[in-house]
């Protein structure tokens, strides 16, 4: 009987299976077949020879190498600072936007601030390479007016990370506010009225009513971003150059260099696998933390 309803179910939904078929094939090719390719991390494999099984040798090479660990710690440092700054700026800006009462001005601020999110990293790197150029750039032009010598912002180890964080904020802060502006607008007005009756002033209202009310949203955004912490690639890739590799190299750029430039497929796959595994652990931990804190997970 159970079998019959199953077969009937399949018959009833046959068109849906047909609809899903192209999606299935696409996921198979671009997501699931590559997952099988992970076994390459146990092989020595270059374009010039057949794969040779070498067990854990790739991982041994990886973990004993200096440049891999540099990339690993750089990734953690750059991504986490970026994530923290991002949340802080987005929540802050959203709170300030919420204080604007004129609908026109509010709309204008939001419209303008969303623009950079839609520009590609290639374009942004190009814009800032020109803006920050020590010869013709507007920033160094201003510094010169103040009597400061031109600074090679993108080619100086001392400056690179600071500039990197600033450019990231320039691109994503406005976009990051969307979700928080919506969350703040959704805060129960009764809470504010109750707070006013309790004699709470404006600033206290923000810290004791608004922020606790949107804490869930902040947590959700934090966890979703945490899952992507190790995947940071495009912004680093386009802003990096050999002069600042020591402070800017991250795992993804390391994987790319070893895999595509040096064509050491086995070693690169091993590094990529290490990154993916740590990512999965991070997401799982974050999800468990969310369950503990608010009683429900995100996944």
């Amino acid at each position: 009987m159970a079998k019959k309803t199953f077969v009937n179910g399949i018959k009833k939904y046959k068109w849906f299976y047909l609809m899903f078929l192209p999606v299935f094939i696409a996921f198979l090719i671009f997501n699931y077949i590559p997952m099988v390719g992970i076994v390459l991390s146990f092989f020595e494999y270059t374009p010039f020879g057949r794969p040779v099984f070498i067990g854990f040798e790739n991982f041994r090479t990886l973990f004993s190498g200096h440049s891999f660990w540099t990339a690993f710690w750089n990734t953690l440092c750059i991504s986490l600072v970026n994530l923290g700054l991002g949340l802080f700026c987005a929540v802050g800006l959203a709170l300030l936007i919420d204080e604007i009462h004129s609908p026109f001005y509010r709309k204008l601020i939001q419209t303008i601030n969303y623009i950079p999110h839609f520009l590609s990293w290639v374009v942004i790197a190009s814009v800032f390479t020109m803006i920050l150029s020590p010869k013709n750039g507007i920033v160094n032009g201003m510094l010169q007016l103040l009597g400061i010598k031109p600074i090679y912002f993108l080619a100086d180890e001392k400056w690179w990370r600071t500039v990197f964080y600033c450019i990231n904020r320039w691109k994503e802060t406005g976009w990051g506010t969307i979700i928080f502006v919506a969350a703040i607008a959704g805060v129960d007005q009764n809470l504010y009225e109750a707070a006013v009756i309790d004699g709470v002033n404006r600033i206290q209202r923000v810290f004791f009513v608004t922020i606790p009310a949107i804490a869930n949203t902040i947590l959700v955004v934090f966890i979703l971003d945490l899952a992507k912490v190790l995947n940071i690639f495009d912004p680093v890739w386009v802003l990096q150059n050999p002069l600042v590799q020591r402070v800017s190299d991250v795992i993804s750029t390391y994987v790319y260099r070893i895999g595509i430039d040096n064509a050491d497929y086995g070693l690169s796959t091993a590094a990529g696998l290490f990154k993916s595994v740590i990512s999965v652990v991070l997401v799982t931990v974050a999800n468990q933390a969310s369950k503990k804190i608010k009683g429900e997970g995100l996944l």
Binding site: V36, L40, I115, M130, I131
Partner: protein, 287 residues
């Protein structure tokens, strides 16, 4: 928010000062966002522009002319246009179909399908295995290798699904009773009712294909088939790190290609703004 009176009377003074400062501060954030773009725009049409000057002294469109004249410049632009249009169409079709399939709760295998889509958000094969798969399947120099991974993402499918869930299920039932096949329900009911979702997800897909650089570098080695982003990058990097020995003419050309690559987006942006805000907030803000 309660409407409050704007005045400098005692008691209101601190509040009013705050509101003025706040408005001013947000104006500065806008200037910070827009200034670099204006500077690039000025640089692209004024050959005498330099350093901190922001005012046009001379108008000269020769940089744009040289982009329109040289096939190695305008061809990548046309490639960008072509891949964005076809890619958005294919990506939207696949995304909506997947979204429509996963709202069928009673379908046998429903759980497996949802997990299959969801798992791709958690884990992936990584750069080299994906690269080698594309290579061995003969998809090198094929635009599908660029379009599909960008156009079809688990995130957009879930977004689409949340939109579809807002359609009252009685509509589907009524259509089924009237003898509509799943395809015609999809075509005649689901899609027309989700125009805002199509606009919102479509914009996300279009922007990410238009902006795609890495997939073109990896999967399209043929220089005749490359897109405008790759061309822009090539041109900007053509004289090493942060511009040593740049001649002014080159600077103008660089500025002009940047403007050309962001212009199409700025053109459609005002019309689509209300849709993407919805796209970001749907399902993400929990009460």
């Amino acid at each position: 928010m309660m409407q409050e009176r704007f005045s400098f009377k005692k008691g209101n003074r601190a509040r009013s000062v705050f509101r003025i400062c706040n408005g001013f501060f947000l104006a500065i954030t806008m200037i910070c966002v827009i200034l670099p773009l204006i500077k690039i725009c000025v640089d692209s049409i004024d050959p005498t522009s330099y350093g901190i000057r922001l005012i046009l002294h001379k108008i000269d469109f020769s940089a744009y002319e040289s982009i329109a004249r040289n096939s190695f410049m305008y061809k990548p632009f046309l490639v960008s246009v072509f891949t964005t249009i076809t890619g958005t169409a294919i990506g939207l079709l696949l995304t909506t179909m997947a979204g429509y399939v996963i709202i069928q709760q009673d379908m046998p295998g429903h759980k497996a399908i949802v997990s299959m889509i969801f798992f791709t958000m958690l884990f992936n094969g990584g750069l080299i295995p994906t690269y080698l798969t594309v290579k061995f399947l003969g998809l090198m120099n094929n635009y599908l290798a660029v379009i599909i991974p960008v156009g079809l993402s688990a995130y957009n499918i879930i977004l689409m699904k949340s939109f579809f869930e807002t359609i009252p299920p009685t509509l589907f039932e009524a259509a089924e009773i009237d003898g509509c096949s799943p395809f015609s329900v999809f075509w005649k009911i689901v899609l027309p009712l989700s125009k805002p979702a199509l606009a919102s997800v479509g914009l996300f897909i279009a922007v990410s294909i238009w902006n795609n650089y890495m997939n073109f570098i990896l999967y399209i080695p043929n220089p005749d088939m490359t897109n405008f982003q790759v061309k822009v990058r090539e041109l900007i990097l053509s004289d090493g790190v942060s511009g040593t020995a740049i001649t002014v003419g080159q600077d103008m050309l660089k500025s002009a290609v940047i403007i050309v690559v962001i212009f199409p987006f700025l053109l459609i942006y005002p019309f689509l703004q209300r849709y993407f805000v919805k796209g970001v907030t749907v399902g993400a803000v929990k009460e």
